[in-house]
Amino acid sequence: MEKEELKKAIYQLIEQSAGKKKYKQADLIKHFRQQGISDADTKAAIRELIDAGDLIYTYFGGSYIELGEKRKGA
């Protein structure tokens, strides 16, 4: 999977699970590992999404990755 494609897939997973399930970075890595994506590739894609502000880290008793738009409501 190309990096941009992977980024899109990660974003969509977070988007679709918003309000239902919170993902940690390790959860995302395990999820995409099952699709044959290396841990390093998933990690790098998450990093780019976070740096771009598309996704953000949140803290609710533990650190999670959620949609970036949420920050506007902080």
Binding site: K24, Q25, I56, Y57, Y59, S63, A74
Partner: protein, 402 residues
């Protein structure tokens, strides 16, 4: 002019001989509305016996998953100055050394962007800036960065590593705690700023077993300086201590946990092979006894107070590791244990808890460590032996049959 509140309950905390945080907060409250409202809310909390803080959430600096702890007041209408009152953690310099200029920089910065209230230092070791609003976070982080400082760790991340003053000021330091801490901080920037673990992970480095940073009680990974050579004894100085009134038998010999010291009134003898390296004798007889090279570190894992099983001290996983730049051995070990923890750790499960749940044997296997006697916390008290297929292939009973 800031708002003033009557604070009869907080005033009680100013009485007595000790410095009071209330006094300092009142000074800040005289010129800062946030600090004034914080004082008012705290008094109300004391009166009602309720905390009015909400904590956590989605506040932070772009690209960072830690360093800011979101805090909001439930009484924003009554105390508008603390509607947002976020805590900012800043990575402290190794050993907590500052110039006066740096301290003034921090104080001016926080007067401008926050409540003016600080905490040097938090229990993790960071510089703590208490109370700011969301809009100030980005400019604050930028200014800190331009001046050579960075945010610290929070959340499910590696927390800001900390250490004792080490060789900078201490004669007993057997490793360069300052350099190790700085090096590990640089090496693990990603793990520090981008939370990716099941829970927090703390690394604390101390130069000797006196453990001035309490790493054995407060760190998931403790790096404690130690030695391998015999303890050097200056018999004349030992006798000086005795002449000056020290009871060597009672204060030194009887306190030795390894029972390896003898004193005949004239000569102190140490059986180094039985020494447990607690450093009691060395610290009590300062100048008369000292450790000798080779120097290195003992690596321990798994301490934390609110453990599932109660307060837990860390336990030994590497009895002696050389600690020379670039510290590759400890870095590799840390990465191995993180991989395992990330794979099997439950949410909010510390690595020590995972070891308890899945077993030290598995932990040692994934870390590539051989079991050694130093790892035994206490002798087992059940009669069962557990053998793996690999163990049986080695026919260990043959050793006993001989």
């Amino acid at each position: 002019m800031t708002k003033k509140y009557d604070t009869p309950l907080l005033d009680e905390l100013e009485k007595g001989p000790f410095p009071s945080f209330v006094t300092e907060m009142k000074k800040a409250a005289a010129k800062n509305a946030m600090a004034a409202d914080e004082l008012g809310q705290l008094e109300k909390s004391f009166r009602d016996k309720v905390t009015y803080w909400k904590h956590g959430g989605i506040v932070g600096v772009r690209g960072y998953g830690g360093g800011v702890i979101g805090r909001y007041s439930q009484l924003a209408d009554e105390f508008p100055g603390v509607a947002h009152f976020h805590t900012v953690r800043v990575n402290q310099p190794s050993g907590l050394f500052y110039t006066s200029e740096t301290m003034k920089f921090f104080c001016d910065l926080w007067d401008k962007y926050g409540s003016g209230l600080t905490n040097f230092h938090g229990s993790t070791g960071d510089i703590i800036f208490l109370g700011t609003v969301t809009d100030n976070l980005e400019p604050l982080a930028t200014i800190l960065s331009m001046n050579g400082f960075d945010l610290g760790g929070s959340g499910s991340a590696m927390r800001t590593p900390s250490c004792c003053v080490g060789p900078a000021r201490c004669e007993w330091s057997m490793i360069d705690t300052l350099d190790i801490t700085y090096d590990l901080t640089q090496e693990f920037q990603d793990e520090l700023h981008r939370p990716q673990f099941p829970y927090k992970f703390k690394i604390k480095t101390v130069g000797c077993p006196v453990d001035c940073n309490a790493s054995i009680a407060r760190a998931d990974l403790s790096i404690i300086g130690t030695w391998k050579g015999p303890i050097a004894i200056d018999q004349d100085k030992v006798k000086d201590y005795a002449k000056k009134g020290m009871n060597i038998q009672e204060e030194i010999v009887n306190f030795c946990p390894g029972k390896c010291i003898t004193w005949d009134g004239n000569t102190l003898t140490i059986n180094n092979s039985d020494c447990l390296h607690c450093m009691h004798c060395i610290t009590k007889l300062a100048g008369a006894l000292k450790p000798t090279p080779p120097f290195g570190a003992v690596i321990l894992i798994g301490a934390k107070a609110p453990f599932v099983i109660g307060a837990t001290l860390s336990w030994v996983i590497v009895p002696f590791m050389e600690m020379k730049p670039p510290y590759q051995e400890i870095k590799d070990l840390i990465r191995n244990m993180w991989d395992w923890w990330n794979e099997y750790g439950k949410n909010r499960e510390r690595i020590g808890e995972l070891i308890l749940r899945r077993g030290m044997r598995e932990f040692l296997e994934v870390c590539g460590l051989e079991p050694t006697p130093e790892m035994v916390k206490e002798p087992r008290n059940d009669p069962f032996w557990f053998w793996t297929e690999e163990d049986l292939e080695k026919k260990p009973w043959e050793e006993y049959l001989k």
